[in-house]
Homo-oligomer: 223 residues x 2
């Protein structure tokens, strides 16, 4: 029991999982897949890489067991193997934000100035949803909304928000949400809405966190 070689091999095994997450493009893939399953071409588009390279990264994640596939016709859908993978990703992000000093600057460069974006907590949003005096907008791409969204939310992908404004009542507060704390879509939505004179706030973090908190969720059932 317990010789050096076997111990090294075991810890190399653990490290392989970290290595699988240790690439920016794969990290982005995990972040997208935490929203729900997607097929290769969509994923390639999301991370702005060639299909071949995206496929390669997905195979890498699959080899370690972090993602699984399902075929539907000619397409192959990838998804996270379980919710724990999403939790691990969230834990990694949190530790990075807390201890890796560069993250602050990188986040600021990507997200811009958030000081004027008011946030709303999950608990408060639950109350407001019960009271019914709020409109919740899911500004993620449609496939992510379809795969699962906050119960009662309306899908308006961020690119369509400007043209869909008229359909949103004027006198109700709007809450926008997207993928999580490092996602700009809800930020952009809130900025746009406020510029047009609407009362809008951003949900602190996004759909995966809402789902992990076991708050009410709806999903399109395949018919």
């Amino acid at each position: 029991m317990g010789d050096r070689g076997a111990k090294d091999a075991l810890f190399d095994g653990f490290a392989e999982v970290a290595k699988a997450m240790g690439n920016g493009r794969r990290a982005e893939l995990i972040d997208v897949l935490a929203q729900g399953e997607r097929h290769v071409e969509e994923l390639a588009d999301e991370i702005a890489q060639s299909v071949a390279n995206t496929s390669f990264h997905l195979r890498t994640l699959a080899a370690i067991g972090l993602v699984t596939t399902r075929r539907d016709g000619t397409r192959i859908y990838y998804r996270l193997t379980s919710g724990r993978v999403g939790e691990l990703w969230a834990a990694l992000r949190d530790v990075a934000a807390a201890h890796h000093s560069e993250i602050d600057d990188l986040a600021a460069a990507y997200l811009g100035d958030r000081s004027r974006l008011e946030e709303i907590g999950r608990a408060e949003l639950v109350d407001r949803l019960v009271a019914g005096d709020v409109i919740v907008l899911d500004v993620r791409p449609l496939p992510e909304y379809t795969a699962g969204h906050i119960a009662g939310a309306r899908s308006i992908p961020i690119e369509r928000l400007a043209e869909s404004l008229k359909a949103i009542p004027r006198d109700v507060e709007i809450v926008a949400y997207c993928r999580g704390p490092y996602c700009v879509m809800a930020d952009d939505a809130v900025r746009l809405l406020r510029r047009r004179g609407r009362a809008a706030r951003r949900l602190e973090d996004g759909f995966p966190e809402w789902q992990r908190a076991e708050l009410p969720v709806e999903m399109q059932v395949a018919s």
Copy 2:
């Protein structure tokens, strides 16, 4: 807000943290440091690497912010920057065990057959400690015991267990613990004790988990 380059850079930043954990030797270092602070020479010995290489790995972890240092005389002590790093490590291990199919075999090769080692849960041990009808043995190396241990536990590093047997009362059940679920020291202790006719069980997982569960802990205060 939200151009591609900035997004890639941010996710590369997250990935750097995973990359820092993505090496077997560094994973072992984190596992040891989760027990408490140690200096470079001891750490090199623990992971069976040269001091130079160990120092290099520690610098890598420090550059990302996962570990911090403190000088004491001519020695430099490294420790995890916060308990969250330990939690991230535990989450990584759990996901690896759950989804990375090779881990089962690697763990079996390192740990051997555990089917005859009875385990005791944390909750039950707390009760037994209150009742006072159990002896708890910390079989980790002494510096780890000194840095922190289960309240009421006795330090008998595994190499000294055989020679220290006489000092342990015969008619009380013994519970041994060490670093965590993938540590063989408590296993070896329980096997030895049972061979000598003692009633012995292994605590499920180890000291870091006990500490995270906010159960009673003691530590040597520098005098």
